[in-house]
Symmetry: none
Subunit: 252 residues, 2 copies
DNA sequence: AAGAGTTTGCTCAACTCTGCTCGACTTTGG
DNA sequence: CCAAAGTCGAGCAGAGTTGAGCAAACTCTT
């Protein structure tokens, strides 16, 4: 068995069975606990899982299939930097709409302490903010998608037609060279479009590793974006394409 | 069990079941009280819960549903019996709509293992069922009311107009002598009415202590009910009034 | 076929977690 | 107001976990 395969198997096991101990993983995969520890250490550094005393837990089932996984180590910090910068834009009294995905969860983490209204169908955001009494929290209806920690479906779209937010923070699987925002999860595309319609200002939060990036479906073009928050590693050409389309590109 | 998993389980337990004692948590999780104390200490330091003498509670004040809250504690067995009987009516494949309130949370607890679709705006029900992969869970949108563990507002009503369920399980603060269903929380009344419209069959679940009972607002009359699940202590006169209105009164 | 570089399993000291005990403190019920 | 019961936090020892170092096995290149 290849080390890389073993690591993917570890991630799959975590996603299927939840938190696992070092011992059980070692037994299951037929290697020593020392090897598992090294695997977990690396996967944690890559931001693929959360290392805890005695084992590991899943983080999210977000970008596991990400072809840019090699640079993910730097990108964990990158992602958080982008999320923090985006969160800093939010002023007390605002109403913000938060997309699905781990980036938005990190962003929500940096919203603590603000007196704002947050609208979302992201269950990770909901869990993060549900006990923060300073934040008015509005959850969009929908079918619970456990793997993606989100609510989706026509109920969500329906709710989105009834709400309005000053600012939308949008996530993505990648931004194409021409500035188009892409996504890999088809069911989310109509939701993202509905969110764009429901907000005055659209802020795309995407660490540099997503420039240029791919995805199955096109969510929107650069014309629909007002601001893009990214990091230093973003591809200059894509960046230029966005700026030429009139998008304000902010570097975290 | 990983220490970290245990801590998350503690938080989830608190959200689902309300304030817990150190002893009951220790029993439930199979560890010593000393360990629970250390967990609570850490979670309190992290701002995840509020430590109180003898146990812990969620950050927000406890769910004081109605003036009957104290009585509810004493009537726990009664309430649970009614909830269990009501849950037993549900067959695999059904779609059920669950009202707000602690009774519905107990009912949800007895739904584990069934392959059904549950629609609700009750966050305690959501917490109870969110990890049960056999259950398709649909959450109605709305504003998070932390004190009541629920989602309310026009988004909820809007979603309710779009969904349909075979059966609605309805809670109440009390049933009047003439069979009218009452409620103390005004904001929930339009929701309950919308739920009644969205379901083929309306099942009121109310332990005997709510017969006869009061409330500020009238939710619906006995004509809107199909079945009432209650317990032995229910007032016979109110019971008769219901039966005369054609309601099937089931005793748990 | 040999060498460089990586991966793996083992050992060991440091650390963390857990359950226990004990004295101090808080709550409860007279 | 007092005493009994329960709860708390500190300290301790044992069990388990961790990361570092090291040698053997393996892979890839030359």
């Amino acid at each position: 068995m290849l080390p890389q395969s073993r690591r993917e198997l570890i991630l799959r096991t975590l996603r299927a069975d939840g938190p696992s101990e070092v011992r059980s993983l070692a037994d299951k995969l037929g290697v020593s606990q020392a090897t598992i520890r090294r695997d977990l250490e690396q996967l944690d550094a890559d931001g693929k899982l959360t290392r805890v005393y005695g084992g590991a837990m899943t983080l999210e089932a977000d970008e596991v299939d990400d072809p840019f996984a090699q640079v993910a180590a730097e990108r964990a910090d990158d992602k958080d930097a982008a999320a923090r910068t985006a969160a800093a834009m939010v002023q007390d009294g605002e109403t913000v709409l938060l997309d699905i995905g781990t980036t938005m969860h990190r962003l929500a983490h940096h919203l603590h302490g603000k007196r704002i209204t947050v609208v979302t169908s992201n269950l990770a955001v909901f869990d993060e903010l549900r006990d923060d009494v300073d934040i008015e929290l509005v959850l969009l209806g929908g079918v619970v998608r456990r793997r993606y920690h989100s609510l989706v479906g026509f109920l969500t779209e329906d709710n989105l037609r009834q709400v309005h937010a000053g600012r939308l923070f949008l996530g993505t699987s990648g931004v194409r060279g021409d500035g188009a925002v892409m996504d890999t999860t088809l069911v989310e595309v109509p939701l993202k479009r509905a969110m764009i319609k429901a907000a005055d200002q659209v802020v795309l939060v995407a660490d540099g590793g997503k420039f240029p990036g791919v995805g199955v479906a096109r969510v929107c073009g650069p014309d629909d974006l007002d601001v893009v928050v990214t990091t230093a590693s973003a591809d200059p050409a894509t960046r230029l394409a966005l700026q030429e389309a009139g998008v304000d590109v902010v570097q975290a």
